[in-house]
């Protein structure tokens, strides 16, 4: 059995906010004591104080999380500048936290470190990993590659990378009582856990196809032998800079399948564009676009896929990771994503989630997890 508590508040005072959140969690958890938790917070809160408050209430809780670009929960639906906390308790499921540091220096080593820390505490077969890595200092593709290697096959990785309210300056990750950056916090689920994942975006490629001719990791210097920035200037009519809502579709070799890479920043002097994930040299790329309806359709598809592949009898919780660019494009309709979510997940299931700078999940159930942009990832949880 998986016991789940959710709390959510947008009180501007950090102490008042977390106390409100904890009291909501207590009510929904009743007498069970949680062993682990996920926390997603806006960038402006006093994060240290909040983590301390949680630890006071639940000493040594296996807690991870990160800063965001907006939060959702079954308690307060969609909010900005808020704190959302989901707590897990169970007799037959083990949930343990770990962290890897200095991901920008050596993503593989950081991933190994995180897995080792968490795995040391596990006594059962690990099945699922939730990760909330740094997004701005390092390539999430390399982090995920390290994580996949360190966990070995048979473990699904799901999650979202930390955000900073579309400022792209500094994001924070949380591990127990620590406020970190350049880190990789993870939560490993072992034992009797049942889960399924759904992923969908709503973006479609438009315009001409081009080839990436000069690239280093996630920094693209040239497309069709011209500065990468020109590629965006061409579409935006000369003045405007690349933006997260206009990712590139990167086509897998000789197929019509593609994954999305959103631009995070650019360098006007060298004409390069930095993306939220690596792009291979000579990859065929195309600019993409989405409208509000197609974005919301993506939510439905994502949930539908998660429900279709779920093997359990009931859902105990849902955790969602939605791209910050989706929120930006949805504008005043951002709250509708949660409404679609609520409408499509049957029953009174506790839900939490946040707006990320990059999403993690497998495209097909049982396949290796990949790093995505502009997607909506649904994770359904329960026990066997």
């Amino acid at each position: 059995m998986l016991y789940v508590g959710v709390g959510h508040s947008d009180d501007v005072d950090s102490r008042d906010a977390i106390r409100d959140v904890l009291s909501q969690c207590r009510t929904s958890l009743k007498d069970t004591s949680p062993q682990a938790g996920l926390i997603f917070m806006a960038i402006d809160y006093d994060h240290e104080l909040i983590l301390k408050e949680i630890n006071q209430e639940y000493p040594d809780i296996e807690l991870i999380g990160c800063t965001t670009d907006g939060e959702v929960s079954s308690s307060q639906e969609f909010m900005e500048d808020s704190i959302v906390l989901m707590l897990f308790g169970s007799d037959d499921i083990e949930i343990k936290a770990g962290v890897g540091r200095s991901v920008s220096k050596d993503p593989s080593a950081a991933a190994r470190e995180a897995v080792e820390v968490a795995k040391r505490k596990c006594t059962k077969q690990v099945r699922l990993c939730i990760a909330t890595p740094e997004s701005l200092t390092a390539s999430c593709v390399s982090i995920l590659e390290g994580l996949n290697n360190a966990l070995g096959s048979g473990v699904t990785v799901v999650g979202g990378s930390a955000g900073d309210q579309w400022r792209f300056q500094k994001s924070y990750q949380f591990y127990k009582t620590e406020v970190l950056n350049d880190s990789l916090p993870i939560l490993l689920f072992s034992g009797n856990i049942i889960f399924s994942v759904g992923i969908s975006s709503g973006w479609r490629p438009v315009g001409k196809r081009s080839v990436v001719t000069k690239v280093s990791g996630n920094v693209v210097y040239e497309i069709d032998n011209r500065p990468a920035l020109e590629f965006y200037h061409y579409y935006f009519g000369g003045k405007m800079m690349p933006s997260g809502e206009y990712p590139l579709a990167v086509f897998e070799e000789d197929t019509e399948r593609f994954y999305l890479r959103a631009p995070l920043g650019y360098d006007e002097t060298e004409g390069s564009v930095t993306f939220a994930g690596d792009i291979p040299l000579n990859a065929t790329v195309q600019i993409t676009e989405a409208d509000r309806d197609s974005i919301l359709k993506g939510v439905e598809e994502s949930i539908e896929m998660a429900i279709r592949t779920y093997r359990g009898r009931r859902y105990d919780a849902a955790v969602v990771f939605s791209c910050a660019a989706r929120r930006a494009l949805l504008g005043t309709r951002a709250a509708e994503e949660y409404k679609f979510l609520k409408k499509n997940i049957p029953g009174n299931v506790p839900i939490c989630g946040f707006y990320t700078y990059g999403e993690i999940g497998p495209l097909l159930s049982n396949s290796v997890s990949q790093f995505h942009n502009e997607t909506f990832v649904t994770l359904l949880l329960g026990s066997g």
Binding site: V12, G207, E245
Partner: protein, 536 residues
């Protein structure tokens, strides 16, 4: 709690709320800017994409034009040598049959076998060349339709006439296989707006497919009207189509059967062209079948809803012209003791739309002439027993047969004798097909001059156009307004056919004496579709 404490708490709460609201305001302002920027990008991007699309479109147009030009060039290049292959093979076949074969000693088994093989081989070359030329035509057709370059006629078309034309075109094939053909449609017209020639192409294709795949039994043609939809069917008792092929037969180059082991029987483009044509007419076409029992091809077209008066006139004229043309093909009796010659002339003339009968000697020739009254006799002179001259003497001395024109086709150069005996034309073997056809036409049109027709219509201008056309065709025309006295007078000159406007006949039918007089004539109705308001 003291009042002051309470007040301080209230102030703290208000300050917090103030801060929260300010934050929300800030945030929503940031979101607004974000969204505005995003909208700007979106607009700019749409402009660029639009530009790209236009450029792509332009390029596609050029490519399409190149494709079309290439296709017509290639097909021309293919057709030229193909014409030579087909033409010379026909000549070789003819020479072989007319010159080599009669002088070959066929009692020798080896020669007999070789002769038979040569004929078979020549047949194959001719058949395959024809198929190749059909294929070129079909490829051109489909390329034209797909690129939107097909020029479509848009006129009121009677589906029944379309069926009749298609049936006439495939009748020879039908007879060859000994299949029956049943028409299950009444006398009503089924009018749609569209291109009659293309629709004839559809029905001809369905019919020849049905004949091709049916070895016994026959074919049923059905037309019915359900609401605003005209439904047409061609049903056969042939081998049928497997369920998984019912849709595929409408795909390009997909034929039922194993193309590795079976020789293809068509171009594989017939049905795809049919589907394109029907689609153009805002209709649909599909197939039903039961293996071993037969197939049914069904197409539905929207019935015509609005007809402009002007087009009625044009269409009627057109349809009457068609009617007359159809009747131009007459019945011809071929008299020759050589089955090869009979077969060849039959094949050639049937292609031209004539109905053919054959007789192998003088006796049969005289009998068949008396019983079936052909419009023309093609007569050989040198026959065992009674000669062609004898036949000519008998026929020209018999009142019943004396007016039937005779064309003598002989190896003998004795034109004077034949003409003196009453023959209309004399051609020596080996003959030129084109020459034969021209002379037959000349005889028959000369012969047709005698026909007198009458036109009854209130619409004077239409009547004038029609009679002008008929006169140009050599008919004698009586024009009549639909007034009993005038019609009675006209009928006195005994017209062989009466073309009467369907509205006019209603007036005339009220006069009982006229009904009797009219019922003894061959009537052709001119049907004008009533004008309706367009529901759209």
């Amino acid at each position: 709690m003291s009042l002051q404490e309470e007040l301080q708490q209230k102030i703290r709460l208000l300050e917090k709320e103030n801060k929260r609201l300010r934050k929300k305001l800030e945030r929503s302002e940031r979101n607004r800017v974000l969204l505005e920027e995003s909208n700007e990008r979106h607009k700019a991007m749409l402009r660029t994409i639009n530009m790209e699309l236009k450029a792509t479109n332009e390029k596609l147009k050029q490519v399409d034009e190149m494709k079309t030009n290439f296709l017509s060039m290639v097909s021309h290049e293919l057709r030229t040598p193909l014409t030579s292959i087909l033409g010379f093979t026909q000549i070789i076949k003819k020479r072989f049959e007319q010159i080599i074969l009669p002088n070959t000693d066929l009692s020798d088994k080896k020669s007999q076998k070789a002769a038979w093989q040569i004929r078979q081989n020549l047949e194959v070359i001719i058949k395959e060349s024809r198929r190749l030329s059909e294929l070129i035509n079909d490829v051109l057709d489909i390329a034209k339709i797909e690129s939107g370059r097909m020029e479509w006629k848009e006129e009121d078309t009677d589906i029944k006439a379309v069926f009749e034309r298609a049936i006439a075109a495939t009748e020879a094939l039908l007879q060859e296989k000994g299949l029956y053909l049943r028409r299950e449609y009444g006398d009503d017209s089924f009018i749609i707006r569209g291109d009659p020639d293309r629709l004839i192409q559809v029905v001809t294709n369905l019919l020849s497919n049905a004949i091709k795949f049916t070895d016994s039994g026959g074919i049923v043609c059905r037309i019915s009207k359900e609401g605003d939809v005209i439904r047409c069917e061609v049903e056969d008792t042939g081998c049928g189509i497997p369920e998984d092929m019912l849709e595929k037969v409408f795909e390009k180059f997909k034929q039922v059967g194993d193309t590795l082991t079976e020789r293809p029987k068509g171009t594989g483009l017939g049905l795809p062209i049919c589907r394109e044509i029907i689609k153009h007419h805002r209709g649909r076409i599909w197939a039903k079948s039961e293996l071993g029992k037969g197939s049914r091809f069904i197409f539905e077209l929207p019935a015509a809803t609005m007809v402009a008066k002007k087009t009625i006139k044009r269409d009627i004229l057109h349809r009457i012209q068609e009617h007359i043309r159809e009747n131009e093909g007459g019945k011809i009796l071929i008299v020759d003791d050589d089955p090869f010659i009979r077969g060849m002339v039959r094949q050639f003339l049937e292609d031209k739309g004539y109905t053919i009968e054959e007789a192998e000697d003088a006796k049969e020739a005289i009998g068949k002439t008396r019983s079936s009254k052909p419009d023309l006799i093609i007569l050989d002179i040198m026959m065992p027993g009674l000669s062609g001259y004898d036949v000519l003497r008998v026929l020209k001395n018999d009142e019943l047969t004396s007016d039937i024109p005779v064309l003598v086709l002989s190896v003998l150069e004795n034109k004077q004798k034949a003409l003196m005996l009453g023959a209309s034309e004399y051609i020596t073997k080996p003959f030129d097909e084109k020459d034969l056809y021209e002379r037959i036409q000349k005889i028959l049109s000369h012969h047709g001059q005698k026909e007198r027709i009458m036109i009854i219509d209130r619409d004077i201008s239409l009547m004038r156009q029609l009679s002008q056309f008929m006169r140009s065709k050599g008919y004698e025309v009586i024009e009549c307004k639909p007034e009993p006295e005038e019609v009675k007078n006209g009928l006195k000159s005994a017209p062989e056919r009466v073309f009467v406007d369907i509205e006019a006949i209603q007036i005339l039918l009220q006069n009982s004496s006229l009904v009797e007089a009219l019922s003894s004539t061959k009537m052709v109705f001119i049907c004008k579709v009533p004008e309706k308001r367009d529901s759209g």
